[in-house]
């Protein structure tokens, strides 16, 4: 047994596969399994092996962490009965039953890991790159008849696949021009991209198309975006409230605001007009709201080690990105807020002043450089979630042996989950980095160091290198 410092000095860790490869890194995680048993004590009690059973559950009872707490509900509800059979337990709600099923499946996987010989773990914690690349590349060329339900989401399919391949640094050269050509057929003559050739332009598919083109990154790809018309399309989608509609006559929701601002910023057409009503709020308020948000998101990481989307919902691999990146963003935003608070105090401006400059010349520069300045900021605070635990969930519970990634054990793989599980994996591998241009230390990469993916820009979810190329292209 090795003892590893990843900020987790109190936890026993076992010899990780990296030690064989000379990276000198182990992983932690046995405490995760222990906690799995804590939150579902009824289930665990019911299935706990008799004392004479082989010690496959040993990591759960590892001596170092504090002993499992007594479980108040059982005590409060007259609980010794809870110790016997599952059938005699008090009625469980739908939420509890579904949660226990997931915990049981995840627990089974983790128990295998901690019962394994170290060389077997090496295999389990490996990112199955070749299989993922094969699965993704196949989807780019051909999709079966059942994909007809995604017929209005084809730029999304392009993005999910191409971005996932870019994270793996495996974009095939031979399809780049075909994708650019296809997306040009989805581009509306009056701006924006639809879900397929001839379909109405839609903000979400516009986001997917533009991110795909940025990820391809060739001159041909980047210049294929008609930015003048795109800007006009976005203005047409802007509601008087400041919010955006998804498409002509379409729904107004927060997805529309995010995709609109992300695309506009990425291709450098964001201005005061488009941002009106979605501008950053007052700095002082922003700081306070962010603290609340961070607390909420941190609590979305559960005993399975992955993230859930909402309180008391089930873990899902795609939230590795949606929640993990939200925390990665706030890590950097805290630096921005701190700086702005300081500068607003020092210049004797009331702290309630707008986060961004208000004169039009500084405004233009602010919008043009926002994404760039953002990523250049150093991380003053480390990861706010458990970055190793999240990698453990993605590698062990979300990978599918034949390639592709999934929501959770028992679910099928798909391109969406492949994209967002890998995006989340990248975010967690780089989350402890102070600066965006350095390489993570081996102890922040669970499994072999070759698991390391390309870093992303978390505002847009495109690979960082590709972002820089696009930034230069669109600022000139």
């Amino acid at each position: 047994m090795g003892l590893l410092v990843v900020g987790l000095t109190t936890f026993p860790v076992f010899r990780g596969p990296q030690e064989h490869r000379g990276h000198g890194c182990c992983l932690s995680g046995s405490h995760m399994v222990r906690r799995l048993s804590v939150r579902s004590p009824r289930l665990q009690r019911a299935r706990r092996p008799p004392p004479s059973a082989p010690p496959t559950t040993a990591p759960m009872d590892s001596p170092s962490p504090p002993p499992p707490p007594p479980y108040p509900p059982a005590a409060a509800e007259g609980g010794p009965a809870a110790d016997s059979q599952a059938a005699e337990l008090p009625r469980l709600t739908v939420t509890q039953v579904e949660q226990m099923k997931v915990e049981a499946k995840v627990g089974e996987i983790y128990r295998v890991l901690f019962g394994n010989a170290p060389n077997a773990n090496s295999l389990m914690l490996e990112l199955w790159r070749e299989q993922h690349v094969e699965y993704l590349t196949r989807g780019l060329k051909h999709l079966g008849p059942s994909f007809h339900v995604l017929d209005a989401n084809r730029p999304w399919l392009c993005y999910w696949i191409i971005h996932a391949l870019a994270l793996l640094d495996e974009i095939p050269d031979d399809v780049e021009d075909d994708i650019v050509d296809f997306l040009s057929r989805c581009q509306d003559k009056d701006g924006g991209y639809g879900g397929g050739p001839g379909q109405l332009p839609h903000l979400a598919t516009t986001y997917a198309a533009v991110n795909t083109l940025v990820t391809i990154g060739s001159e041909r790809a980047l210049s294929s975006v008609n930015r003048d018309n795109l800007y006009k399309f976005m203005l047409r989608m802007k509601d008087t409230s400041g919010a955006f509609r998804m498409h002509d006559g379409g729904e107004i929701d927060v997805r529309a605001s995010y995709t609109a601002i992300s695309v506009a910023s990425l291709v450098n057409i964001l201005d005061g007009e488009l941002a009106k009503g979605v501008k950053p709020m007052k700095v002082a308020l922003l700081g306070n709201r962010m603290l609340k948000l961070m607390g909420w998101v941190a609590f979305r990481q559960g005993v399975e080690c992955g993230f859930q989307g909402r309180t008391n919902k089930l873990v899902d691999g795609c939230y590795s990105f949606w929640q993990g990146a939200a925390l990665a963003l706030t890590q950097k935003l805290m630096t921005v807020v701190d700086e702005q608070l300081k500068s607003s105090y020092s210049s004797k401006r009331p702290p309630g002043d707008d986060a961004c400059g208000t004169s039009s010349s500084t405004e233009a520069a602010y919008y043009a450089k926002f994404g760039f300045d953002f990523i250049e900021k150093s991380n003053q605070i480390g990861p706010l979630f458990h970055n190793i635990a999240l990698q453990q969930y993605i590698l062990l519970c979300a990978q599918v042996l034949d390639g592709g990634l999934r929501d959770k054990p028992g679910k099928n793989r798909d391109h969406y989950h492949s994209c967002y599980c890998l995006s989340g994996l990248s975010v967690s591998q780089y989350s402890a980095m102070v600066d965006s241009d350095a390489c993570p230390l081996p102890q922040h990469v669970l499994g072999p160091y070759s698991n390391l993916l390309e870093p992303i820009h978390p505002l847009y979810n495109v690979v960082l290198d590709k972002y820089h190329t696009a930034y230069e292209f669109f600022s000139s």
């Binding site: 707490p69 999709l143 209005a152 399809v175 296809f182």
Partner: protein, 339 residues
């Protein structure tokens, strides 16, 4: 997956391909222009391809006719996520001055099989806006039906909340929340809905009037299931923006202490106490004693004396909530930077 005769309006019992329908004889189908080297190409089934080709012809021609309406129903049946078709269908409905109640029945039938589809719920809202308050109760019945299959369907909840706020129907909403929470007290959507009712129902007098009884209700839920995060969050929500009232309500710190007596590592209780201290609560002797005792009960705890009670709670959380060790370590730094 051929469109069924029930959902494609006006279709006869046996499904006829569009190319064999007399009413479409003059239409020249338009194939999809995927280019010479398609990517993410879907191997469409023949009927899908043909219906889409005919739809494209009418859509590009902007034909707002009865036959166009029928064809949109078929396309929707094949792929309810096709927002272009829904949009076009709304234009046709307007042009034909169609019966919108009938249309609501149509979309409800589709929604029952596709309850997590943005287009369907947007279409329902569009219809409900036109039909007005008379439709409110029917909409509430419908979302209730969808929620009985999945009580956390985000689309159904947002539609229900919009109908309440735009068209009314608040009368039985609190009762509905009670019922859902009785069935599953872990259902965060039901807590969320309860919050909307308490704060926004015109019949209840608002949060200030309801706060006292809600705190009792929530404390009861917490004591029954201290590991249920939902009521803990709801409790904080009841005092949103009212830090002074939150601190003054002794029931809040009491429930934390009660829970900690049974489970000294209950993260929700510890973190709520931490919040209370952070906004300026002067800790009682009991609170100080409880935290001290929890700290001392752990033989592994470091000997170092914590600067204050908040820091002491952070230390406990760093140990008993290992999944959030990074978060609590960071949180701890925000305490020291304030003092």
């Amino acid at each position: 997956m051929a469109p069924s005769s029930t959902s494609s309006e006006g279709a006869s019992d046996e499904w006829l391909p569009p190319s064999r329908r007399p009413e479409l004889a003059d239409v020249v189908p338009v194939t999809q222009d995927d280019g010479p080297h398609p990517v993410v190409a879907i191997a469409y089934r023949d009927e899908f391809r043909e219906v889409m080709d005919y739809f494209r012809a009418l859509y590009f021609a902007g034909e707002r006719s009865v036959r166009a309406l029928h064809l949109t129903a078929e396309v929707i049946d094949l792929n309810p996520g096709n927002y272009t078709v829904w949009h076009f269908r709304r234009l046709v409905l307007e042009a034909l001055d169609a019966d919108l109640r009938e249309e609501m029945d149509f979309v409800d039938r589709i929604a029952e099989c596709n309850p997590k589809n943005y287009q369907i719920w947007h279409h329902k809202r569009w219809l409900a806006e036109k039909l007005g308050p008379d439709i409110a109760n029917k909409e509430h019945e419908f979302t209730r039906k969808i929620l009985s299959m999945d009580a956390k369907n985000y689309h159904a909840w947002s539609h229900r909340q919009w109908v309440l706020q735009a068209l009314g129907g608040w009368e039985t909403e609190l009762q509905y929340c009670n019922q859902l929470l009785e069935e599953d007290v872990f259902n965060n959507s039901a807590w969320n809905q309860r919050y909307l009712v308490i704060t926004s129902s015109p019949l209840l007098g608002g949060l200030a009037a309801m706060r006292d009884s809600e705190v009792d209700y929530t404390v009861g839920a917490i004591l029954a299931n201290p590991q249920n995060e939902s009521p803990w969050r709801y409790l904080k929500g009841l005092y949103k923006g009212e830090n002074n009232l939150l601190m003054a309500d002794e029931r809040i710190s009491d429930v934390c202490l009660k829970v900690l007596k049974h489970d000294s590592t209950c993260v929700f209780a510890l973190s709520l106490l931490l919040d209370l201290l952070q906004i300026g609560l002067q800790p009682s002797d009991e609170l100080k004693g409880t935290i001290e005792a929890i700290k001392n009960s752990d033989p592994e705890a470091d000997e170092a004396v914590d600067a204050d009670l908040a820091t002491a709670i952070c230390s406990i959380l760093q140990r008993c909530d290992p999944l959030r060790i990074n978060y609590w370590s960071w949180y701890r730094t925000t305490i020291s930077s304030q003092t």
